[in-house]
């Protein structure tokens, strides 16, 4: 492998890793607060891509306005799902909420098939993101280059929100102890809504970055990336935001190099084996805190 090719792969890996990281943050935050694997998160990501097609192709809205429309509608979708499918089950066993999440994922996939047909649709080109950049011998598109920057930027802003603001403090409290936080007068529902808003905002951002260099969108396009991002969140330690970002980058890099070595069939197998290995040897992940089990 030449140095140029190596750098090219590194860049591609970091780029896809950045997108995984953006989605993994959504998983990890929801899990940290609700103790729920939000199976629908990958499908929200897929719906965001269809919203973009809807805005740019069907209504011919310029991309910068479309982008904000996509972000707002994805956030609304996330809040709607939370209100209709998760909040009525807040006091029921964890298994029911998980079944509900699977149900929402099932519903979104079928809804997308119904509304937009199962055939792949072309994702609209965003001209600014598709320009080619050249650094010496390494050439790449703008989107590949700016994805990791956006991810790191989002991470810094998010950490600032969580460490410095009042709502961030409330989020930390809720994730430590749901019941006590409630007794201390924290508005649980507001905290959960904010969590979903942040998660869906990042999913919408990730969806634009993910689908721009890819040819098409189809109703099942979100399920596999969704699962991979969940693996990233578990790897980093579920509930930990920097952990999720690190996990995302790592999975993106590994996947790219496995594909580069000619084993592209097995890149997904690797991800799931990593999941099982992490769960076996260090279930709390890299940065997760160990919780004492109460009888």
């Amino acid at each position: 492998m030449t140095t140029t090719a190596f750098l090219q792969y590194c860049l591609a890996g970091i780029s896809i890793g950045g997108i995984y990281a953006l989605i993994a943050i959504g998983y990890t935050m929801v899990y940290g607060i609700l103790r729920l694997i939000n199976f629908a998160h990958g499908d929200i990501f897929m719906m965001a891509a269809y919203f973009m097609i809807f805005a740019m192709v069907d209504f011919m809205i310029p991309w910068y306005i479309s982008a904000s429309i996509v972000i707002i509608s994805t956030i609304l979708l996330g809040l709607l799902i939370e209100k209709l499918a998760y909040s009525p089950l807040r006091s029921s066993p964890r298994m029911s909420i998980m079944i509900s999440a699977i149900g929402v994922s099932f519903l979104l996939q079928n809804l997308a098939t119904y509304l937009f047909s199962a055939l792949p649709k072309q994702y609209p080109a965003i001209p600014v993101l598709n320009k080619t950049l050249t650094f010496g011998e390494v050439s790449t598109s703008v989107v590949t280059f700016i994805t990791p920057i956006i991810t790191i930027g989002a991470l810094i802003i998010l950490m600032a929100i969580i460490k410095k603001t009042k709502i961030g403090m409330a989020m930390r409290a809720v994730s430590k102890d749901f019941q006590t936080a409630k007794l201390m007068g924290i508005e649980i529902n507001t905290v959960i809504s904010v969590t979903f808003i942040i998660g869906c905002f990042l999913a919408a951002l990730g969806s634009m970055l993910y689908f721009t260099p890819r040819p098409s969108v189809f109703p099942l396009a979100g399920s596999l990336p969704g699962l991979k991002c969940f693996v990233a969140a578990v790897f980093g330690g579920i509930g930990s935001i920097p952990g999720a970002v690190l996990g995302g980058f790592l999975i993106g890099l590994c996947e790219t190099f496995i594909k580069a070595a000619g084993y592209s069939e097995f890149s997904d197998v690797f991800t799931f084996i990593l999941l099982i290995a992490v769960l076996m040897f260090r279930p709390t992940g890299l940065f997760g805190e160990t919780l004492a089990e109460k009888v």
Binding site: R35, L36, I37, L84, A85, P88, L89, S92, R94, M95, S96, M98, I99, S100, I102, G103, V104, S105, F106, L107, Q109, N110, L111, T113, Y114, S117, A118, S223, L227, F230, V231, V234, E265, F266, D268, V269, F272, I273, L275, I276, L279, M280, P283, V295
Partner: protein
Amino acid sequence: MKKKTKIICSIIAGLVIAAFIVYVGEEVPSSSMLRTVLQLGTIYALVAVSMNLLNGFTGLFSLGQAGFMAVGAYTYAVLTIPVAKKANVYYLYGITDSLANVELPLWVGLIAGGLLAALLAAVVGAPVLRLKSDYFAIATLGFSEIVRILVGSSPFNRITNGSLGLNSIPGNPSYYTPFIVAAICIAVIVLLLTSSYGRAFKAIREDEIAAEAMGIRLSTHKQMAFIISSFFTGISGALLAMYLGAITSTTFPIMLTYNILLIVVIGGMGSVTGSIMAAFLVTAAKEWWLRFLDQTMMIGDFQVPLLRTGFRMVVFSIILMLVVLFWRRGIMGQKEFSWDGLINFFKRIGNRFRGNASKKGGALNG
């Protein structure tokens, strides 16, 4: 109701069901939807009951069903495809020499499918079963995807025929095969559940720590439930291969697991009879009764809105969400079917009806 009457009722009900199956087998043309629903429903009933053994009775939330079904189906197919047809099936990659002349009887293939799935469950189960509820679910889901990707990948070309999949799989020797196999398997599961092991499984579901304190070995019992459930899931996978005649790795997506979960949830987590009823109900609704939702319909010049390809599955998933949110017990909850339950059910409906009637009467008088 006396015990004797109940037994007589059960025997009559069993005979009626058997007579119905025979009637459909002998009298109804083979292209009929009813036959499809009965056969497919039976296969789903078996896999739903074995999923229920794990999810509903032992409290282990597994999402690996599609993977184990794939193992069962592929094992059955590889072992039973007639030697004469093998060259045709493996026309692109050829077949490994050790399998080239293998053609086992169908029942051996069926059991081998179950056994291989059970073996795999034993290997995977040891580490995975240490995980807690939702981590266990996601690990089994990951396992199912690994299996699906591997059976369709190039290193297995000469065994599983890679992405081309297998065809010419010997079909049901007779119309009755799935019913007989499923009935035997479900009977075995029911016997297991009523034994002391079954009670131990339920104790684990209710409270792991209390169960352990009562002297139940958690790891052994969980392992056992996982292996047995996978064995029957493998067999149902083999039955599905038998029914379909051709399989590829895309026959067993995560969606399949979700479909089975839907059946278990609608039937009631922790009820064998509920799962069986829901399997037939869901299969009939999906394959037959709701078909019209997928077709555009015209009433005069007016086109009924919304009806178009894919609408059936949307309606279906909305039903699932409604069940999950508002009717969490499903059809049977954790109870089993009983004649007393049926009588009570009709009494309750009768009372409600009478209650309404008297209210109406009151309004008239006042």
